[in-house]
C-alpha cells in the first residue's frame, strides 16, 4: 500500500528541477570560482593557470587591505555598538505591556526594505543642502558637514545607515527569546527586591545568551556581506574610504574585467568569513544549549 510513496519516477520529477537549478546556480559557480581564482582570466583571452599569484597579489594589494579594514569596522561597530543597544531595546520592549506590539512592528520595518532604496533615502537625509541631519546639527551651530563626501565621516554615515536598517530585525529576534523566559523567574527576583536593571543584567541577559551568540554570528556574517549600501551611497569613495571587500571585488571584476583576480577576492572573502565565524564559535560563542526558534 505504501508503494505510491516509493515511486522513483515521481521522486525524480519532484527533486530534479530543484537539484538542477541548485547545482547550476550555486554549486557550479562555487566550483568555477575556485577554478578561475587560480587563473589570469580577463574575459577575453583564454584563462591561464597562474597558481597562487592572485592570492599573493590580493594580500599585498593596499586597496584590498584597506577594504578588509573597513569590513572590520563594520564588524566592530555591529558587535560593540549595535549588539548592546539591541539587547537594551529588546529588554525595554519586553518590559512594557502597553504598545509592545506597536514597538515590535515599527522597529522591524527598515529590515524589510530594499537596501538600495534605503541608501538613496539616507543620502537625502545626509544631503548637505536640504538633509535633516545638517539641519538638526545647525540648531547647535554646527557647520554643514558633507557626510558622504568627506573622508572623515563617510564610513560613519554608512555604518549608521546600516545600523538603522538592521537593528530592528535583531531586536525582534532577541525579544522573542526574552518573551519565552518564564514569568516566574522575574517575579521571584522582584519579590527578592531586585530592581529592573538588576533583573535585566542578572536574569534576562544570562538566559538569552544563546540568542545573543546567534545575533553576534549573524552580525559578523552580515558585516562580511555588506555591499549594496556602499555601492549605492558612495561607490566606495571618497578615496576608497568606504570601500569594502565585496564592493572592491565587484569593481575589479566587472569594471576592469579582471575575472580571475575578482574570483580570488571572492574566495578570500569566503575564507575570511569562515575563519571569523569559526574563531568566534571556538572562543566567545560557545554555548551548550541548542537554539531553536
Amino acid at each position: 500500500m505504501r508503494s505510491a510513496l516509493r515511486n522513483p519516477y515521481v521522486y525524480a520529477l519532484f527533486v530534479i528541477p530543484t537539484i538542477g537549478l541548485y547545482f547550476l546556480f550555486t554549486i557550479y559557480p562555487m566550483l568555477s570560482s575556485a577554478y578561475y581564482a587560480f587563473t589570469d582570466w580577463d574575459g577575453l583571452n583564454d584563462p591561464k593557470y597562474i597558481g597562487f599569484h592572485n592570492f599573493t597579489t590580493a594580500l599585498q594589494d593596499p586597496y584590498f587591505q584597506n577594504s578588509i579594514v573597513n569590513n572590520m569596522y563594520f564588524i566592530l561597530f555591529s558587535v560593540f555598538v549595535q549588539v548592546p543597544l539591541i539587547i537594551m531595546f529588546a529588554i525595554l520592549i519586553g518590559s512594557v505591556k502597553r504598545l509592545q506590539g506597536f514597538y515590535k512592528t515599527t522597529v522591524f520595518v527598515p529590515s524589510i526594505l530594499s537596501t538600495a532604496v534605503i541608501g538613496i533615502l539616507w543620502q537625502f537625509i545626509y544631503n548637505p543642502e536640504v538633509g535633516i541631519v545638517n539641519k538638526f546639527l545647525g540648531l547647535f551651530g554646527i557647520d554643514t558637514i558633507y557626510w558622504l563626501a568627506d573622508m572623515r565621516y563617510a564610513l560613519w554615515a554608512i555604518l549608521i545607515t546600516n545600523a538603522w536598517q538592521w537593528m530592528g530585525f535583531y531586536i525582534v529576534l532577541v525579544l522573542a527569546a526574552i518573551l519565552a523566559i518564564p514569568r516566574e523567574l522575574n517575579e521571584a527576583a522582584e519579590i527578592d527586591g531586585a530592581g529592573g536593571f538588576q533583573r535585566a543584567i542578572r536574569i534576562t541577559v544570562p538566559l538569552i545568551k544563546p540568542i545573543i551568540s546567534v545575533i553576534v554570528m549573524l552580525s559578523i556574517a552580515g558585516a562580511m556581506r555588506v555591499v549594496d549600501i556602499v555601492l549605492v551611497m558612495t561607490k566606495g569613495g571618497p578615496v576608497s574610504s568606504t570601500e569594502v571587500m565585496a564592493s572592491y571585488m565587484v569593481n575589479r571584476a566587472i569594471r576592469y574585467g579582471e575575472y580571475g583576480y575578482g574570483t580570488s577576492l571572492a574566495m578570500l572573502i569566503f575564507v575570511i568569513a569562515l575563519v571569523l565565524t569559526a574563531l568566534y564559535q571556538l572562543t566567545f560563542g560557545r554555548t551548550k544549549e541548542e537554539v531553536t526558534y
Partner: protein, 277 residues
C-alpha cells in the same frame, strides 16, 4: 507613587525616541515628495507641504518610467516567488514523505551545504555563467539565480513543516487510491499552506529588494527592477529632491502595505529564515 510612575514611563520615552528615529526619515521623504521645489524642502523640512503637489507622483510614474521598474519588479517577484514555492514544496515532499530515505538524506545534506555559501561570493561566477548562457540583459538572468538562491532555505523550512504532518492522513488517502502526485497536490500541499505562504513572502521580498545582480546583469532600462531603476533615477534627477522622494515612496509603499496586512507572517518568515540559516 511618583517614582513608580517614572519607572513605568521611562522605557516608553526611550522606545519612543527609537521609534521616532525609525519613522522620521519616512515622514521627511513623504513630505518632501509633495513639495514643489528644493527651496520648500530646504527651508522647512518638517513643515507640512503648503499645497500638495501630487503632480510629482504622476510625473515620476508616467514619464520617469517608475511604472516600468515597478511592473518588472512585481512580475519577477511574483514568478520567482511562486516558482520557488512550488519547486521547494515538491522537493520537500519527496525528501520528507516519500520512502527513498537514503537518497533523501544525501540530497538534504547537499542542500544544507548550499546555505553556507554567501551569495556575494558567487556573484562573479554567476555573472560569467549567465553571460555564457546568453542570458545577460534578459529577465531570465535574474529569475534563475533568484529562484535557485532561495531554494535551500525554502526546502528546509517547508521540510520542517511537512515532517510534522501525521502519517495517518496520507495512509488514508493512499487507501482511497491516491498516487503520490495526487497525494502531494490534494493532501499535503493544502495542509502546508501556512509554511508556503511564509516562504513565498520571504522570497517575494528578497527579489523585490535585490540590487547587486539586477544592477550588473541588466543594462537595458526597460528591463530594470525598482532598486536599480531607483538608483538610475537618482543619478538622472540628482538635484530634484522632490522627484527622488517620490521614487522612494513608490518603491517602499507596496512593501509597507504588504507588511500592514501580513506583519506577523513576514516577521516570522524573515527571522526563521535567518536563524535556521
Amino acid at each position: 507613587m511618583l517614582l513608580v510612575k517614572a519607572r513605568k514611563t521611562l522605557p516608553h520615552i526611550v522606545l519612543m525616541i527609537y521609534v521616532a528615529a525609525v519613522l522620521v526619515p519616512f515622514v521627511f521623504v513623504v513630505f518632501s515628495s509633495l513639495k514643489d521645489n528644493n527651496i520648500d524642502i530646504a527651508e522647512n523640512p518638517f513643515g507640512f507641504p503648503t499645497e500638495l503637489v501630487f503632480q510629482n507622483y504622476i510625473d515620476a510614474w508616467v514619464s520617469a518610467k517608475i511604472s516600468t521598474y515597478f511592473f518588472n519588479s512585481a512580475y519577477l517577484s511574483l514568478t520567482s516567488g511562486i516558482a520557488g514555492v512550488i519547486l521547494s514544496a515538491a522537493t520537500a515532499f519527496a525528501l520528507t514523505r516519500m520512502k527513498l530515505l537514503r537518497t533523501s538524506k544525501v540530497i538534504y545534506q547537499a542542500v544544507l551545504i548550499g546555505m553556507l555559501i554567501p551569495s556575494n561570493v558567487l556573484f562573479i561566477a554567476q555573472y560569467i555563467l549567465v553571460s555564457d548562457l546568453g542570458l545577460l540583459n534578459t529577465h531570465w538572468s535574474l529569475f534563475l539565480p533568484y529562484t535557485a538562491g532561495a531554494l535551500p532555505i525554502s526546502v528546509l523550512l517547508i521540510a520542517a513543516f511537512m515532517k510534522a504532518i501525521p502519517a495517518e492522513l496520507e495512509e488514508a488517502a493512499i487507501v482511497d487510491g491516491l498516487g503520490s502526485i495526487g497525494l502531494f497536490f490534494r493532501i499535503i500541499m493544502p495542509v502546508t499552506v501556512p509554511a508556503l505562504v511564509t516562504v513565498f513572502i520571504v522570497n517575494f521580498l528578497g527579489v523585490w529588494n535585490e540590487y547587486l545582480l539586477s544592477n550588473f546583469f541588466i543594462s537595458k532600462d526597460a528591463l530594470r527592477t525598482l532598486p536599480t531603476g531607483m538608483v538610475g533615477f537618482r543619478d538622472a534627477y540628482q538635484t530634484n529632491y522632490a522627484y527622488i522622494c517620490t521614487g522612494i515612496v513608490f518603491s517602499v509603499l507596496p512593501v509597507l502595505i504588504l507588511y500592514a496586512f501580513l506583519q506577523d507572517k513576514i516577521i516570522e518568515g524573515i527571522t526563521a529564515g535567518s536563524v535556521k540559516g
